[in-house]
């Protein structure tokens, strides 16, 4: 009896040891991201798939709060030498991420580990956004743009229509007819967010800051009082004053979505990442969804919007084998297969040209034309600094200023005054950032 027990325990012990031995062989990579809610299981599944395909690696994803909270947690961790391997960073913080000195440069990693990446296959506009001085600092992942959604069923009832590339004036006209006719309480809504302002400026070819939007060198001033900016705000204010635009709140994506899907508003400007949710709502609600490009002022030549969303960055201070694993993972995440999957699940666009082709061939876009709009808008974007997005450390501060400016305008302040004040503060923020940072920190 005891002999049997001994044999069994030895076998179990051996099994456990083997299991430990093999599991220890897997290089563990920590991945912090900021996508909450239903996307958490999606990301977990994707990581699990990667782990299956590459059993020598183990990627462990964790949700770490909002973009800001994730960044703070990472810096704190990096200072203690416990940085996550991969971090999910939002576009405006790009300059700060570079300056923090805790991240490795994407292109360097790829070269170093001899990985094959077909850069030509990536959609240019996306790469341009994240290329600084010709070098790609991070890996594109969840990229999105702004588009306009509208309730076609409601439009038909009201007897109005909207072209695929509408103008500011179109929106006002259509909006008035809808609200006056009682077809919806409001014409349009979008959360108070800097992103739209940046888009409208970009569409008109206007840089947010000087020095080629921060790409030719650190900027010295902002252009919030430019004509493009003023025009955008004046239009926005007009919509508010006439009761056509309703305020869902600051950064209130969900609320804006709700206002639209509940039919209180006939139109809605948002990120293409919302397309899955809106599509679902239209299917359940039995109304037809249609999307268009972002509206721009009449008579302006469309330059295209900016690429938003986030990217994946790899932190520096890790042993080589971990860096290699991390690089492998981030490249894998933008593999054609993954990017198609991610796109279909969420609405963020597929960042590879091949992916777009495959989706086209499979008839995906015919079935779901709304998923296409952002991509078309993107492909038609001119490659100028304005559409490549501003790159400067004080971007976060300027985001705030853009949003608060509108809140003040709602409170009665004239547009020019609010923007002048915002621009003033923006210049100060830019100066302060330069003062503290000067040059990027050299670590190592």
């Amino acid at each position: 009896m005891w002999r049997r027990l001994l044999v069994v325990s030895l076998m179990v012990g051996l099994l456990v040891l083997t299991a430990l031995a093999t599991s220890q062989a897997a290089v563990k990579i920590v991945f912090w991201h900021a996508m909450g809610g239903w996307r958490i299981p999606v990301i977990e599944r994707m990581c699990a798939d990667f782990n299956l395909e590459y059993p020598e690696f183990e990627v462990v994803p964790s949700w770490k709060g909002s973009y800001d909270e994730t960044f703070v947690a990472s810096i704190a961790a990096a200072r203690a030498g416990k940085a996550p391997h991969i971090l999910h960073v939002t576009q405006p913080i790009t300059r700060e991420a570079i300056d923090s000195g805790i991240f490795a440069v994407a292109e360097d990693l790829i070269d170093r580990f001899g990985m094959e990446v077909k850069w030509e296959d990536y959609i240019d506009a996306v790469l341009d956004t994240y290329r600084v001085g010709g070098r790609l600092y991070c890996f594109p992942w969840n990229s999105s743009s702004a588009i306009l959604y509208y309730n076609k069923t409601l439009f038909e009832k009201a007897g109005v229509s909207l072209s695929r590339k509408p103008t500011f004036e179109d929106i006002i006209e259509v909006g008035n007819k809808i609200v006056d006719g009682g077809y919806a309480t409001y014409a349009i809504t979008w959360p108070i967010l800097y992103w739209w302002v940046q888009q409208w400026m970009a569409e008109q070819g206007q840089n947010v800051v000087d020095n080629e939007n921060g790409r030719a060198g650190r900027p010295t001033k902002a252009y919030l009082t430019s004509d493009a900016s003023i025009q955008a705000y004046e239009w926005w204010k007009q919509l508010y004053d006439e009761g056509l635009w309703v305020n869902p709140g600051r950064s209130a994506w969900g609320e804006a979505l709700r206002i639209f899907t509940s039919h209180e508003s006939a139109m809605f400007i948002s990120t293409t990442a919302h397309v899955t949710a809106v599509q679902k709502s239209s299917a359940e609600g039995g109304w037809e969804l249609e999307t268009t490009f972002l509206p721009i002022p009449e008579g302006t030549e469309r330059c295209g919007g900016t690429v938003g969303g986030g990217t994946l960055w790899v932190t520096k201070d890790h042993p080589d084998e971990q860096l290699k694993a991390a690089t492998k993972f981030v490249v894998w995440m933008s593999d054609t297969a993954q990017t198609i999957r991610w796109h279909q699940l969420t609405g963020y666009y597929p960042i590879k040209k091949t992916a777009v082709e495959i989706l086209e061939r499979e008839g995906w876009f015919e079935e779901k034309p709304s998923y296409r709009t952002a991509i078309d808008q993107l492909l038609e974007t001119k490659s100028i600094p304005a559409t490549q997005s501003a790159l400067f450390g004080a971007f976060r501060a300027v985001e705030d200023l853009m949003e608060i400016a509108f809140e003040e305008i709602m409170g009665g302040k004239p547009v020019e005054e609010a923007l002048a004040k915002a621009n003033d503060k923006a210049n100060k923020a830019i100066a302060e950032y330069r003062r503290v940072i000067g040059e990027p920190i050299e670590r190592k």
């Binding site: 809610g37 239903w38 299981p41 947690a73 704190a76 899907t261 948002s270 919302h274």
Partner: protein
Amino acid sequence: MALIISALLIMTPVILALIGSTHTTFEANLYPPKITPGSAGITNYIRAWDFGLGRMMLNTIFVAAVVSVGKIVLSLLAALAFVYFDFRFKSLIFVFILITMMFPTPVRIVALYDLVESLKMGDSYLALTAPYLASATGIFLFRQHFRSIPSSLADAARVDGAGPLRFLAYILIPMSMSAIGALAMIQFIYMWNQYLWPLIIISSEEKQLIQLGLRMLMQDLAGEQEWGLAMAGVVISLLPPLFIFILLQGQFRKGYALAEEK
């Protein structure tokens, strides 16, 4: 009765949240708002649970219990010192401890993180509990309470030859049950609602606390805010504090009864 109306009014948002947890996203987005239970039934609850809420709640219960007990003990001892002893620097020390209530957590969080990491306590239950053990609130509360207890009792204890600790154990504590109960409840809930510190200091999934889980469900990052899912999470996470609540509010009765027998 005014009571019924007040109770209903106050409970309304929570009742709405409860109803909301049974809504599908479509139903949650209707206008006029839907106030009848929806068709998602308990699906939202199952989905919310799958985010790992169960484990997180267990962790939080453990951490909250440890902190509550710890705080009560430390505060009782400290309050005993302040009310029944005279010693040098008494007022100074009291102020020294009291003003810690006014140190906002976010301010010290990064430095605290550094400290905890350098003490090799990072990502541990110890890190989740130790920083919370001192309670100015508790000391303040017990001090107020002790001061309203007749001094004749302390005199009687001295006469009987009882030392301070015996006095504490046999007389003060039994007379403070309602205060202890109230403090326990408050501290439990306080710990239950901690978000920022656990977020920063804990990196292992298994040790996460409940508020993080809730945030995961509520986070509205350029995505669909699934109200039903979020509310299901809220309701689930409300149950343990509610339970502790119901348990401890009986303490009031006890405290009340004790005051009668003199």
